[in-house]
Each structure stands twice: as structure tokens, then as C-alpha cells.
């Protein structure tokens, strides 16, 4: 356990600088976005009210009051999230390849550590998941802050006030932060599984080089087919026999099978096949 914690802390440290840059970028761009978007709206409001001689109430009736969702649907809000997501997806691969292609092939030392090699694998996977959850937490922390800025920027008759819960629920944000804790566990459990599948594919490539690329892609495809098999069977049989709760159970079982298969295969590859 101690070994694992050390490895995990080590993996986190190695990405920490870039990670903090991502966090800072998100905070700065989103907060700037609230200010820009509300100013834009107020500018348009003032202009229309003056040019067309409308009252505030008439303007709001015609053009609608601004809600926080108008901001969350803009690039100011979605852009940083997309960049962070892309960076972490890229890092799922880089977390392995940097050890091979670094200045001094670092993987040598990692794999020679007097600990199970699977610990290295789990430390890398856990650090990815932790960093994703960390970014989600940052978003949860700055949302109330942004909402407060939003309220202070607009006079009350020009805005629709919303609670944080509702901002999340009534938005694509509920894909990242689902409404119930069960869903949260299911979503991020699936995410963890996806990371393990990609790791296995990377290890295939590291073990068998060119042939390994095909094996890796094949493994991703097989995992995908297993996970989607209930949906695929519905398409081909044109009939679906399971009730929703049974489907959920089946999907969880399939997910556990794919996860276990990935761990077992990775363990095998790391111990027997991987070449440095």
C-alpha cells in the first residue's frame, strides 16, 4: 500500500505543473467569460432600449432575460472544459510513453522497483481518474463563484436566477456531474474501465510493437463490442427482452468482466511480454 501511495504521489507530481496550468486556465477563462457575456448582454440591452425606445420590461419580454445557462452554453465556459478533457485523454497515452521516450528510459527503473509491476499500472490509472475528479471539483467550486459574479453584473430585472443544482441538471453539465450519486459512481466507474482498456492497448503496443498496434486496436474493439452487446442484440434481434433494471445489472456485470479482463491481460503483458 505504501509503495502504491508513493507511486501515485510520484505520478501526480510529474503532471502537477501542467495540471495547475489547466486549472488556472479554466478559472481565468470562465470568470472572464461571465464578465464578457453579461457585458455583451447589457450592452445590447442598453442599445436596444435607447434605439427602439423600449422599457426594461418590454425588452425583457421581447429578447428574454439572461440566465446563467446562456453563459454555460458559450465557448467561454465549454472551451476550458474541452481543453482539459482533451489534455487528459492525451495524457492517458503520454503517461506511459513518456517513460519509454524520456531522456533516460525511465521505465527501466519503474519496472525494476521491488514491488508488483501491477502497482505501477494502478498508480497511473488512479492518477488519471484523480486528476479528472480534481477538475470536476474545481468546476464545482468555481460555479457558485461565477453565479455570484453573474448576479452582481446584471440588474435583477434582466436576469433569471438559478441555483447551482439546477444549473447543472438542466444542462449538458449533468453528463459530467450527474444528478444522483449512483449515476456518479456508474459514470466514473465506466470512465475508469475505459482508462484501463486504453492502458491495455498501450501495453499491447509496447509488447509487440507494430503487430501490437493491431492487437491493441482489436482489444479496444472487442471491449466495445462486449459493452455494447445488449444494444447490438437489440438491433439485430429487433427485440429487447430485458427490463431497464435488468439491463443496468447486465451492463454492470459486463463492465466488471471487461475491467477484470483488462487488469489480467495487463498484468500478464507487464510481467511476461513488455520490452524495454
Amino acid at each position: 500500500m505504501n509503495r502504491f501511495a508513493k507511486l501515485l504521489n510520484f505520478e501526480l507530481s510529474r503532471f502537477m505543473k501542467l495540471y495547475l496550468v489547466l486549472v488556472a486556465m479554466t478559472i481565468i477563462v470562465q470568470i472572464a467569460g461571465v464578465i464578457v457575456k453579461t457585458n455583451e448582454y447589457m450592452g445590447r440591452a442598453n442599445q436596444t432600449i435607447q434605439e427602439d425606445g423600449l422599457s426594461i420590461a418590454q425588452f425583457v419580454e421581447q429578447y428574454g432575460a439572461m440566465s446563467f445557462l446562456d453563459f454555460t452554453r458559450s465557448l467561454w465556459f465549454m472551451g476550458p472544459i474541452a481543453i482539459c478533457a482533451a489534455a487528459l485523454i492525451f495524457y492517458i497515452f503520454m503517461i506511459w510513453y513518456r517513460d519509454w521516450f524520456g531522456k533516460n528510459t525511465f521505465i527501466y527503473r519503474l519496472l525494476m522497483l521491488p514491488t508488483a509491476r501491477l502497482n505501477v499500472y494502478f498508480a497511473k490509472a488512479t492518477s488519471i481518474v484523480l486528476m479528472v475528479l480534481g477538475l470536476i471539483s474545481v468546476q464545482l467550486i468555481i460555479l457558485p463563484l461565477e453565479n455570484t459574479i453573474f448576479k452582481s453584473m446584471l440588474p435583477v430585472n434582466f436576469r433569471v436566477d438559478m441555483t447551482i443544482d439546477r444549473i447543472i441538471d438542466w444542462n449538458y453539465l449533468s453528463m459530467l456531474i450527474p444528478q444522483t450519486f449512483i449515476e456518479f459512481v456508474l459514470y466514473y466507474g465506466a470512465g475508469f474501465m475505459a482508462v484501463l482498456i486504453l492502458f491495455t492497448a498501450v501495453l499491447f503496443e509496447r509488447s509487440f510493437k507494430w503487430k501490437g498496434i493491431l492487437l491493441g486496436i482489436g482489444y479496444i474493439a472487442i471491449s466495445g463490442i462486449v459493452m455494447l452487446s445488449p444494444v447490438l442484440s437489440m438491433v439485430f434481434l429487433n427485440h429487447y427482452y430485458l427490463y431497464p433494471l435488468e439491463s443496468l445489472g447486465l451492463q454492470i456485470v459486463l463492465g466488471i468482466i471487461v475491467t477484470a479482463m483488462s487488469i489480467w491481460l495487463s498484468n500478464y503483458l507487464l510481467n511476461k511480454k513488455v520490452t524495454v
Binding site: A5, K6, L8, N9, L12, S13, M16, G64, A65, S67, L69, D70, L130, M131, L133, G134, I136, S137, V138, L140, I141, V156, R159, V160, D161, M162, T163, D165, R166, D169, W170, I177, Q179, T180, F181, I182, E183, F184, N238, H239, Y240, Y241, L242, Y243, P244, L245, L248
Partner: protein, 398 residues
């Protein structure tokens, strides 16, 4: 410990933030107003069978569904994940059937019109193997009949006759008459035409024994549009001797040509109605000869062989079998009904709000005497927040 500060920092931020968020959203009320039906006068027990559906919207079209009954209101977001899974897509009738006949309902669709439930039988018919884009020549009737007493299910499939002709076949009602399963469908031809069709099946021998086109849904001349729909009971799964089709003809007014050289076609809002009744016992169809007083009146609901027309300040009862006006129910003057349902010998009316400071009202009247049995106001317990709109636009009687 100092060496692990990054790990400790990230883990504590994650656990604290996400933990707080979920604990707080589970504990705190969701800030949506609780809504109750406040009795103005009458017997509250009348409310037991009433379900009112509505929406709560904020700003530009964001919002959620809310359901209201005698126990109060339930918003969509108040459902747990598991509850939501079981009831979505939301269909009260098929949800009920799934609960009562779990084995039979397995793998069956959610189109309520596909079901017939009588005291001793539950029947289901759907047309399977049809896809909107692909070839549809594999279309089959998928039929199941459950004998409630013995618990035995009879299932069989029958190819749709002349299926190469059709692009799509939709089941619109299912009935059983003298051991024969009668399936009313709307058939869309590949050449663009459409018709109302009746298929008949011999249940005991599991074969098709009847196939007739009832009426074309296409207009003969270019200047009218035709729309035919089935007027069903509030509960379309109930048995009925009469199937009533409402045929609406609307003249098409042609606007000036637009810039692509195509003249715009606009069916008029008002049209002429015609009711065609199919008698399952005799297999005959007749067009109702409505008295002058009913022409142009809208049908609000139907119960067995009675059609209820919306008159001026009253509801006119019309029997399709005897083709007579049988009764009238006088309505109290206050409030125009947005939604009217007739069931269990009562009239259920949901009125629209007359102005912004007013609440929607629910009224329950006796169908025979027109006496008000219940009157209530739909009231949010706390005022609806700034910019939000609460609107009830559905009324169901269980």
C-alpha cells in the same frame, strides 16, 4: 506525510467537494415550489383518481416535468435514479401493465394502442421488423394473447399481407370480437398514399382470416387536406364494440408563390368534421348523420358508445348506436375549460388561468346532473420564482 502532499491535497479536495455536493443536493429541497390542489368546495376524495401533468420552465425553455395528484406534486428531478429508470419513457398505462403482468410484458412495446385489456384477456399486437429507411418486406404482426385465468400466453407471428406495398404499418387499436383479434392500423404505402386498415386474426388457429381497407386517408382533390384519427376512450386499451373515426377535411388555401416558385400550401384551421363508426359485431361502417346542433362542434371525449361534444356552456351527449342526442350536461359559467375528460360518470375540467394573479382550477361535475362535486385551485405553496412559469397542460383520470 509531507512527501505525499500532492496526493493528500487532490484526494481531500475531490472527496470534500464532490461529497459535499451530493450530500447537499440529497438533503436540500430542490427549490422547486411544492404544489397542492386546494379545495374550494366539495369532497376531496374525488381527487383520488386525478393526475395532472405540467411543466415548470425558467427563462428560455429550460425546465422539467411535474406531476400533480391528491398527494401533492412530484418533479422529474425528485425521482431517484432507479425510479427514473423504471418509469422512463413515461407511460402510466404500460407501466401499470408491466407491474401487473411482468412475464407477459417482457420485450413488448410501449404503444398503448397495441394493447387490449378485458376482464379475462390481455392482448397485444405490434408490427415488427419495420424500419423507416430499410426494406420493409419482412414486416410481421407480433401477436400475444394472455388468458388471465389460466396464465397461459399464446404467441404467434403472421406476415403482413401485401407487405411489399407498405412503407410503414402502425397499430392504432386492438379489439377482440367472438374469438377473433381485430387490429386497426394506419398503413403508409410506398407510393405515398395512406389508408386505414383492419386485419382480423383467428386466435385459436393462429392465422389471419381477414384483411380489408376501411378508408383512404388521401384526399381526392388537391384543394383539401384530410386527417383521420380514431376517437378512443380515455383508456385506449379498453374493449369497445364501436371504433369511431373522426375525419376532418380542411380546404387548402394557396398562398402566393415564394421565391423558389413553389406556392405555399396552408390548410385552414377550421374544417368540416365527419364521424365514421365501425361496428365490430356486424362488420359494417356508417357515417354518422349528425343533427344540425352538433355540426362544427368539437368532441371532448368518448365513453363506450357515447360521444361528448363541447357545446356552448354545456356538454352534449350523443349515442353513436342510436344516432341520437341523449343528454346534456350544463356547465357552471365560471372559467373556460382547457382540458375536459369524462370518466366514471363525471366530468373533469382543468381551466386555464384567467390572468397572471389567478390559479388554474380543477372542477369535477356529475355527468348526469351537472352538479359540482368538487372544485379546487392549483396553488404553489411558495410563490413561483422570478421569470419562472408553471403550466399544467395534461389531465388524466385513472
Amino acid at each position: 506525510m509531507k512527501r505525499y502532499w500532492r496526493l493528500i491535497a487532490i484526494v481531500s479536495v475531490v472527496v470534500l467537494t464532490i461529497g459535499t455536493f451530493y450530500i447537499q443536493s440529497a438533503m436540500a429541497a430542490n427549490n422547486l415550489p411544492d404544489i397542492t390542489i386546494e379545495t374550494v368546495n366539495g369532497d376531496e376524495d374525488e381527487l383520488d383518481s386525478v393526475v395532472i401533468n405540467g411543466t415548470y420552465t425558467v427563462g428560455n425553455g429550460m425546465g422539467e416535468f411535474v406531476e400533480l395528484n391528491s398527494d401533492g406534486s412530484t418533479y422529474d428531478s425528485e425521482q431517484s435514479f432507479i425510479e427514473g429508470l423504471q418509469t422512463r419513457p413515461f407511460n402510466e398505462r404500460t407501466n401499470q401493465l408491466q407491474e401487473d403482468y411482468r412475464g407477459f410484458m417482457r420485450g413488448k412495446g410501449r404503444n398503448t394502442a397495441s394493447y387490449l385489456e378485458t376482464e379475462d384477456t390481455l392482448a397485444y399486437t405490434e408490427v415488427i421488423n419495420q424500419s423507416v429507411s430499410g426494406p420493409s418486406s419482412d414486416m410481421e404482426f407480433d401477436i400475444s394473447v394472455l388468458d388471465k385465468e389460466s396464465g397461459e400466453t399464446l404467441s404467434f407471428t403472421v406476415p403482413v399481407p401485401n407487405r411489399a406495398m407498405y412503407a410503414q404499418v402502425l397499430v392504432e387499436d386492438v379489439q377482440i370480437m367472438d374469438g377473433a383479434l381485430k387490429v386497426f392500423t394506419r398503413n403508409y404505402s410506398k407510393d405515398g398514399g395512406g389508408e386505414k386498415h383492419l386485419y382480423s386474426f383467428d386466435i385459436a388457429n393462429q392465422e389471419i382470416n381477414g384483411n380489408e381497407s376501411l378508408m383512404s386517408t388521401e384526399s381526392q382533390d388537391q384543394n383539401t387536406s384530410i386527417h383521420i384519427s380514431i376517437v378512443s376512450n380515455s383508456d385506449i386499451t379498453a374493449a369497445n364494440q364501436f371504433i369511431i373515426f373522426e375525419k376532418t377535411k380542411r380546404p387548402i388555401t394557396r398562398g402566393p408563390e415564394n421565391n423558389q416558385g413553389i406556392d405555399s400550401e396552408q390548410p385552414a384551421d377550421e374544417g368540416t368534421q365527419e364521424f365514421i363508426v365501425y361496428n365490430l359485431e356486424t362488420g359494417e361502417q356508417k357515417t354518422l348523420d349528425l343533427p344540425e346542433t352538433l355540426s362544427g362542434k368539437r368532441v371532448t371525449d368518448r365513453e363506450h358508445s357515447t360521444l361528448y361534444f363541447e357545446g356552448e356552456g354545456n356538454i352534449i351527449h350523443y349515442n353513436v348506436e342510436t344516432e341520437q342526442v341523449t343528454d346534456e350536461t350544463e356547465l357552471p359559467v365560471n372559467g373556460t375549460a382547457e382540458f375536459t375528460r369524462i370518466a366514471n360518470g363525471k366530468v373533469y375540467m382543468l381551466t386555464g388561468p384567467e390572468n397572471q394573479n389567478n390559479f388554474q382550477r380543477l372542477m369535477i361535475l356529475d355527468l348526469q346532473s351537472g352538479d359540482t362535486l368538487y372544485e379546487g385551485e392549483i396553488k404553489p405553496e411558495e410563490p413561483v420564482e422570478n421569470g419562472a412559469l408553471l403550466d399544467f397542460n395534461g389531465l388524466h383520470i385513472e
